[in-house]
């Protein structure tokens, strides 16, 4: 199954199972969780079932294209189910079958992995899912977002598309994956992976990043004061990504890290609180549609 077919399949499967299929957000971010379709929609009482591909960036994970499956850029397939369905694991296993994985022949395991993202005040309990030892999915019951306790609780299912493809295509490296007939993942991404690794670790201007962080943080406060929640959300995401870049440049000492994380978390908290208030003022429109 080609890389692009995995996406088609998952979109079809989750659409058949009641999810709306959205498209990625046009902003650099560490994970699909940052997309407001998860970040904000998991808050409050309204039901929400969504699936989308999210191109993700983790600068410190760059390996100059040398590691077979650690890269600073990759694709996530993100599913958010709110409230978490009782048969959520069976639903998930069904999605693996839809990709042609024979469950009786492979060792599919749910291994404890309690997830948290301190920068956005998010806490969740769940697992990484192993297929014959390969971590192919992150499976999380969100407990908190922006420091707010969540009720109902959502399940977030995050597929690592490249890893699933390696597994399905029996390849040892991202770069050898077939994206489509005749085109490999490496054809599309290897050069940029090398260049971004160089940039993230060696070239990125620390003074510019530090300056941007301050400016984005300031801009956030300005827009949120004017009630522009979705604009504010983007500035939180930008701050978080700038922090990750600074981290890759080792420009932040371990002691300073804590205070940078606290600064982003503070923005996330303000944002989530504003969003909750906003939906309440709107009378929870999605609740009525149920």
């Amino acid at each position: 199954m080609n890389f692009q077919d995995i996406i088609f399949n998952l979109q079809k499967y989750w659409s058949d199972n009641g999810c709306i299929i959205k498209q990625p957000m046009d902003l650099e971010k560490g994970a699909g969780t940052f997309n407001p379709d998860t970040f904000l929609r998991c808050l409050g009482p309204e039901p929400w079932n969504v699936a989308y591909v999210e191109p993700s960036r983790r600068p410190t994970d760059g390996r100059y294209g040398q590691n077979p499956f650690r890269t600073q850029f990759y694709y996530q397939f993100q599913v958010l189910l709110k409230p978490s369905p009782d048969d959520v694991i069976d639903l998930y296993l069904g999605s693996l079958e839809s990709l042609g994985i024979k469950l009786k022949l492979h060792d599919i395991r749910f291994v404890e992995d309690d997830w948290q993202s301190p920068t956005i005040g998010a806490v969740g309990l769940g697992w990484e899912v192993w297929a014959d030892g390969m971590e192919i999915t992150q499976f999380t019951y969100f407990q908190q977002m922006g420091g707010f306790m969540l009720k109902p609780v959502s399940t977030e299912i995050t597929y690592g598309l490249e890893r699933i493809a390696m597994y399905l295509q029996d390849k040892d490296s991202f770069w050898d994956l077939k994206w489509s007939d005749g085109i490999t993942y490496g054809d599309l991404h290897l050069e940029s992976e090398k260049q971004w690794s160089v940039y993230n670790f060696e070239v990125a201007s620390v003074s510019m990043l530090l300056d941007l962080f301050k400016k984005y943080e300031k801009e956030f406060k300005k827009v949120i004061d004017k009630g522009l929640i979705f604009v504010g959300c983007e500035y939180v995401i930008k701050c978080s990504h700038i922090f990750n870049l600074l981290d890759a440049r080792e420009a932040i000492s371990v002691a300073e890290r804590t205070s940078y994380i606290a600064r982003v978390r503070n923005l996330a908290k303000i944002l989530c609180s504003a969003y909750l208030k906003h939906r309440e003022e709107m009378g929870y429109p999605l609740l009525k549609k149920e």
């Binding site: 009782d86 060792d107 309990l125 030892g133 371990v254």
Partner: protein, 708 residues
């Protein structure tokens, strides 16, 4: 009649740590609730697999035990008027019990009088009627160190509960919890047996679960299966040429990660064998929970074991896991190579940015304190013997500055369990002396109860220093363990201090070391509103409590320790030496010959003021004898104390007892002459002080006395 109950809480995959917590909690709760509800049972056994917590109650009574209780109302005087007619009070009371006054009886309450009341025999309810609440409550009261909620439910559990099986013999104990109803249905292996399984009765649960469900719910059996498979491999297939590294924690985790274990052998490319052994083994174990395999000469081989969840492998599982380990190892190799580009100066500098604890500065600050604290320990009496040997103090200083460096290496950031191990490895590679590199590893010891202890003086002293420093810091910021709360494992650290002191035979006063350490903190940081003395005593008592705990574990007499502490001694080594001497003495001799005379002395001198003994006033023979004996004994005992020859001290005190007894028998302390009397009391006070050099023997519990 008695029947068996099986109670299964079906969940999504529980973390390995939660299954242990869950079953022990469940057992305790059930025992209490069944007892509270007067339901007798023979015994409760608990079982678990990743998707279930199971309790089996054997021989559970069908009926509650009867219970009689008495309800007392008004006194007879109040209940009846002069003519013997019931008053309104009596009638009101009867009504409250739904009875007539004529149904009531006289109840005598001892020491209080006679009341109008009723003996009520509680109805013996059937087990099946009480069990629903018991089982439901037991789920609700089960707590885990990490809990979660799911969907829109209120209940908290380690992972979502998906089914409940409750069978008393062949009868379902029916109750509901959130959206779940208890039933006689269980679920087996997720992929090998996906559908529901009907269980006929409690006794067929395990067999059906294994036969149809492909699940072994007994963790002990799963462990045995894994060990058997490993054994077979080592003996039959590898013919003794390879040996599996059986890490106990890893094995326990793995047992709780599969519902039915199956061992698969994998191989990884030789190119990774250059990674140092300790690092390589951890890289194999840490993320993927594989077992490393050593060859005959003890080197890591390219083989590794996968414990998977019961699937018959047709090659895919082996291949998949091999691919994963290869990538993990290439990551480990990447980190190792990255670390090679740096040296200890670089890492030591980075420690300035690593916070040791909030308000306690950085790891760099800690390293600087360790250098001073360890030098202080080495320079103390008992530690000073070390200076005669080579350059221990130089090694200590170096090791202090290097021991925390590996915290900022890529390897330890990736594999946290390797702290100390990576430091030792890199110190070797950078050409540090073996005393230094070994101490880097050893200063973390012991890491858990029954772990090994440091083997070298540098390691032992640095380990003591590191732990004292952490405990002192935590006490200064108020993070003092209480009850079962000990999030920073300070008790374990304190036990480590005690064991290392005893092993290295370091004789030093705890209070001195603690206040030295306290000063180091207080010079750099501000702790407002803290009483130095209270903290100091708190830490000293905290550490001595761990020594007491060691004695308790060995079922040793605690009164001996209390008597030694009564002397004010607060060197762990010294306390231990005295303890052993007294313990040995008690075995062969009559300790009362020491303790009774001391008690006689103490009884006289209670709450009085003292002065010097005036020799001129000593008139009677036996008080003169006591005085002379005191002077000579005091010198002898002090000399022996310096040599720590406590057996000889006890012998001296033993002999001294006779003289004290003779004094009391022959001399009247309470002389009419105030001066003489006061002088005799001063004399006795001196005798008490002599005993107290060694211990307060009056605190020994000896049959038939505490005061005579």
């Amino acid at each position: 009649m008695r029947k068996n109950l099986v109670f299964e809480i079906g969940t999504e995959e529980l973390p390995p740590s939660c299954t242990g917590e869950g079953v022990s909690g469940l057992k305790e709760i059930l025992e209490n609730k069944l007892a509270e509800n007067r339901l007798e049972f023979e015994d409760i056994q608990t079982y678990s697999s990743p998707r279930r917590l199971v309790a089996v109650v054997k021989g559970l009574s069908e009926l509650q035990n009867s219970k009689e209780r008495t309800v007392a109302g008004p006194t007879l005087k109040v209940a009846f008027d002069k003519d013997g007619n019931p008053t309104r009070a009596a009638e009101g009371f009867a009504r409250s019990l739904n009875l007539k006054v004529s149904d009531l009886e006289e109840i005598e309450v001892e020491g209080k009088g006679v009341y109008l009341g009723k003996r009520i025999i509680e109805e013996e309810k059937k087990a099946v009627d009480v069990l629903p609440d018991i089982l439901k409550d037991s789920i609700l009261s089960l707590t885990f160190s990490k809990q979660m909620t799911w969907a829109d439910h209120d209940i908290k559990f380690a992972r979502p509960i998906r089914w409940i099986l409750a069978l008393y013999d062949n009868e379902v104990i029916k109750f509901s919890l959130e959206n779940l109803n208890s039933a006689n249905i269980t679920f087996g292996h997720r992929t090998l047996s996906p559908g529901p399984i009907n269980i006929k009765d409690a006794d067929s649960y395990f067999k059906l679960l294994q036969d149809k469900g492909k699940v072994i719910a007994d963790a002990g059996k799963r462990k045995e299966l894994i060990l058997n498979q490993i054994n077979q491999l080592e003996e039959d297939i590898w013919k003794g040429n390879y040996k599996v590294v059986l890490d106990g924690n890893l094995l326990n985790d793995v047992v709780n990660m599969v519902e039915i274990p199956n061992v698969v052998i994998g191989n990884f490319p030789e190119e990774f064998l250059y990674i140092p052994k300790d690092l390589l083994v951890e890289a194999i174990q840490y993320h993927q929970k594989y077992f490393a395999v050593l060859d005959k000469s003890g080197n890591v081989s390219t083989k590794f074991l996968i414990i998977q969840n019961g699937i018959k492998d047709n090659g895919g599982i082996k291949k998949g896991n091999e691919r994963v380990l290869k990538a993990r190892l290439s990551d480990a190799a990447f980190f190792y190579e990255e670390d090679k580009k740096h040296d200890f100066n670089y890492w030591a500098d980075k420690l300035k940015g690593v916070i040791f604890f909030s308000n306690l500065g950085s790891m760099h600050n800690k390293a600087l304190r360790l250098k001073k604290v360890s030098a202080y320990i080495a320079g103390l009496p008992g530690g000073s013997r070390l200076h005669k040997k080579d350059d221990i103090s130089t090694n200590l200083a170096t090791a202090s500055m290097l021991c925390k460096c590996d915290l900022v290496t890529n390897m330890v950031v990736e594999f946290p369990a390797l702290q100390g191990v990576v430091g030792r490895q890199y110190a070797r590679e950078k050409g540090e002396k073996s005393e230094v590199s070994d101490a880097i590893f050893e200063h973390y010891l012991p890491r858990f109860a029954a772990d090994i202890l440091p083997t070298t003086d540098v390691g032992l002293i640095l380990s003591i220093a590191d732990k004292i420093d952490t405990i002192t810091g935590m006490f200064l910021v108020g993070k003092i363990p209480s009850g079962s709360e000990d999030p920073f494992a300070l008790r374990r650290k304190a036990s480590g201090i005690v064991l290392s002191i005893l092993k290295g035979k370091y004789d030093f006063d705890l209070t001195g070391l603690i206040s030295y350490n306290q000063n180091l903190y207080q010079k750099s940081f501000d702790f407002r509103g803290i009483s130095d003395l209270k903290i100091n005593t708190g830490i000293k008592d905290f550490i001595i409590a761990r020594y007491r705990f060691l004695l308790e574990k060995k079922d040793k007499r605690l009164d001996i320790l209390e008597s030694i502490l009564g002397s004010g001694c607060c060197s762990i080594l010294d306390i231990d030496l005295r303890y052993k001497a007294i313990e040995e003495f008690i075995e062969s001799k009559d300790i009362k010959k020491i303790s009774y005379p001391m008690i006689r002395c103490k009884n006289i001198i209670d709450k009085k003021e003292f002065g010097e003994v005036d020799v001129e006033l000593l008139g009677e023979e036996y008080e003169k004898r006591l005085f002379l004996s005191l002077s000579s004994k005091e010198k002898a005992i002090k000399d022996l104390m310096c040599k720590k020859d406590y057996t000889a001290v006890l012998a001296e005190l033993y002999g001294f007892g006779e003289i004290v007894d003779l004094f009391f028998d022959k001399v009247l302390v309470m002389d009419k002459d105030k001066k003489v009397r006061s002088n005799r009391i001063n004399l006795i006070k001196k005798a008490v002080d002599l005993y107290l050099l060694m211990a307060d023997f009056s605190r020994l519990t000896i049959e038939g006395n505490s005061r005579i």
